[in-house]
């Protein structure tokens, strides 16, 4: 057993550091949740206090549930995020497999070209994207957002997954070929399950920016029917008056699904981070 791991002083230091980090990371979430249950006055008087009999109020949640079609926004966000993740993972994994498995002319160049996208923010192309979406009639549809987010997520996905797929044993794929499996079966049945931790990592990295994005929903799909949760919450933020109760309640709602998705992926994610460390 590793000596550093059994030494009590080290254990305490390690857990202390981790607990401190957890507190810092959870603090904003805590503040949002706590204040979403307080009256407007109480929020500003004592932002850190827990709600008590006096300050407790559900007015924020009432506003959120009354105003606008909150569940529709929620559903929109869900559809856009999940569909984007699905396409990022599917196409990312397929491209990564081609790049890692097959030797073909220009393969290295193609890999580099795809990776370049990591460094170029997609928002630079907003105007062109908007023109394209208008031309194709996709404005104010879920597809507008899904396509853009898929494009935005692919470079990093391809980059990470290529590295992981290179590590999948050649012998295993060759055994499949000798046993008569098609390239598709080898990809879906042998390779994908083995890079699942990497897929989870890519999913988590992409999920949060997509879920939180305000920019593209505002520009490409601001219609009532396609509004995402983040965009929907903006109705409570005005130039002169902001309904903080409602904003905080909407945010509390918005945190929930991310948390659920994260829990689903995180088991895999932990394996992804530690894989290779232990055989």
């Amino acid at each position: 057993m590793n000596k550093a791991r059994t030494n009590p002083a080290n254990t305490i230091a390690m857990h202390g550091a981790l607990i401190a980090y957890t507190l810092i990371a959870l603090f904003p979430v805590f503040v949002i949740l706590v204040n979403s249950f307080k009256t407007r006055k109480a929020i500003f008087r004592e932002p850190l206090a827990l709600p008590d009999a006096d300050s407790f109020s559900l007015s924020g949640y009432q506003t959120v549930l009354k105003q606008g079609d909150f569940f529709l926004y929620f559903q929109n966000s869900m559809i856009v995020t999940l569909a984007s993740l699905f396409f990022i993972l599917l196409f990312g994994a397929m491209a990564a497999y081609a790049l890692s498995e097959y030797r073909f002319r220009g393969g290295k160049f193609l890999g580099l070209y795809l990776a370049l996208g990591i460094m170029i923010p997609i928002r630079i192309g907003t105007v062109a994207i908007l023109e394209m979406m208008v031309a194709t009639g996709l404005v104010n549809t879920h597809w507008a957002l899904i396509l853009v987010y898929t494009a935005q997520g692919l470079p990093l996905a391809v980059f990470i997954l290529t590295e992981f797929m290179r590590q999948v044993s050649d012998d295993l794929k060759n055994a499949g070929r000798i046993d008569g499996l098609s390239e598709y079966t080898i990809f879906f049945r042998l390779v994908l399950p083995l890079v699942r931790p990497a897929m989870a990592t890519v999913a988590v990295f992409n999920m949060i920016p997509i879920w939180n994005d305000l920019w593209f929903p505002l520009i490409l799909a601001p219609a009532e029917a396609t509004k995402t949760l983040t965009l929907g919450s903006q109705v409570f933020i005005g130039q002169f008056v902001t309904d903080w109760n409602a904003v905080l309640s909407a945010l509390s709602f918005a945190i929930l699904p991310v948390l659920v998705l994260y829990v689903i992926f995180s088991r895999q994610l932990i394996r992804g981070i530690t894989s290779g460390a232990v055989k």
Partner: protein, 330 residues
């Protein structure tokens, strides 16, 4: 009938020529071992035979049919990999039957073949386990079982024992030899371990740098090596080489003598100083310097020889080999 014929097979990766003009044949039921140092192209040759790599030039015939354009699964071969390459998400039974199910074999045939293979390899208790729940030796047996159930025309083994510990390696080696006898199938076996090569092979193919150095039975290669490389590669400890001038004044050739052909002799022609002694019980390996050349003598039985001691070594004249500057017999 010949199980496999290679004619002038070459393989290049870009500008690197890995296999150079290889021609050989494997007869029906023969056990052929490819040996050679690491990186000489053994695995590549096996992959070309399996169809996992395309030959750059030359013909590959399996059972008389030209298979250069045939995909691996249709070549009638089965391969056992060094890393076992078991499917991690399938249990042992499914690992063994995947290829047959893929071929669309009837259920009874599949069941019967699995039962046979499992009995032969003592795998019955493990059929429902997953590969991660097996020891290395058990995984190796499953990998072999997966090859057997396909009833291939030709078995390909790529260093199947190199991940096993010494005791298990010996047992599995015997198992493979038994298997060959029972199945009387044609087998190609790749290794860089010359003991495995000598003990298993009907025929050994010695490779170096992508070229065939010599093909023959183990004893042919041991007794009549085609060149200095083959002489040095087979036999353990390996053959001693030193300038023949040490024994015959003015002889420019290289002299070779196997450690087991040296013996202690007060009148022997080689005066040596002992550098190190390995006592193996049955044998004693003496490593000694003759002038500045290190040689190894393998003496039968136990000897009280000590480091630093001077001794004289002799040999029978018919046991020595001579090689010219190019490594060819002279």
């Amino acid at each position: 009938m010949t199980a496999l014929t290679l004619t002038h097979v070459s393989k290049s990766f870009g500008a690197v020529d890995v296999l150079k003009d290889i021609s050989l044949s494997v007869e029906e039921g023969e056990f052929v071992v490819f040996v050679g140092p690491s990186g000489c192209g053994k695995s590549t040759l096996l992959r070309v035979i399996a169809g996992l790599e395309d030959a750059t030039a030359g013909e590959v015939r399996i059972g008389g049919d030209l298979v250069n354009r045939t995909p691996p699964s249709k070549r009638g071969i089965a391969m056992v990999f060094q890393s076992y390459a078991l499917y991690p998400h399938l249990n042992v039974r499914k690992n063994m039957t995947l290829a047959l199910r893929q071929e669309g074999q009837p259920k009874e045939v599949i069941e019967e073949r699995v039962a046979n293979a499992s009995r032969m390899l003592n795998l019955d208790p493990y059929l429902d386990r997953y590969p991660s729940e097996l020891s290395g030796g058990q995984r190796q047996r499953v990998a072999i079982g997966r090859a057997i159930v396909r009833q291939p025309k030709l078995f390909l083994f790529d260093e199947p024992l190199s991940n096993l510990d010494a005791a298990l390696r010996m047992n599995t080696r015997i198992e493979i030899a038994n298997l060959h006898r029972q199945l009387s199938a044609s087998m190609i076996y790749v290794t860089h371990d010359q003991t495995e090569a000598m003990t298993l092979a009907d025929k050994i193919v010695v490779l170096r740098d992508g070229r065939v150095e010599q093909i023959g039975t183990p004893m042919e290669l041991y007794n009549n090596p085609a060149n200095q490389f083959v002489a040095g590669f087979l036999g353990s400890p390996s053959m001693n080489f030193f300038p023949a001038g040490l024994v015959n004044e003015g002889d420019a050739r290289t002299m070779g003598i196997r450690p087991e052909d040296l013996f202690l002799s007060d009148t022997g022609p080689l005066g040596a100083r002992v550098v190190h002694v390995e006592h193996l019980g049955g044998d004693t390996n003496v490593i000694a310097d003759v002038q500045s050349h290190q040689i190894t003598a393998r003496l039968f039985g136990q000897h009280g020889i000590e480091t630093g001691q001077a001794l004289r070594l002799g040999f029978k004249p018919d046991k020595i080999y001579h090689f010219d500057a190019g490594g060819l017999p002279a």
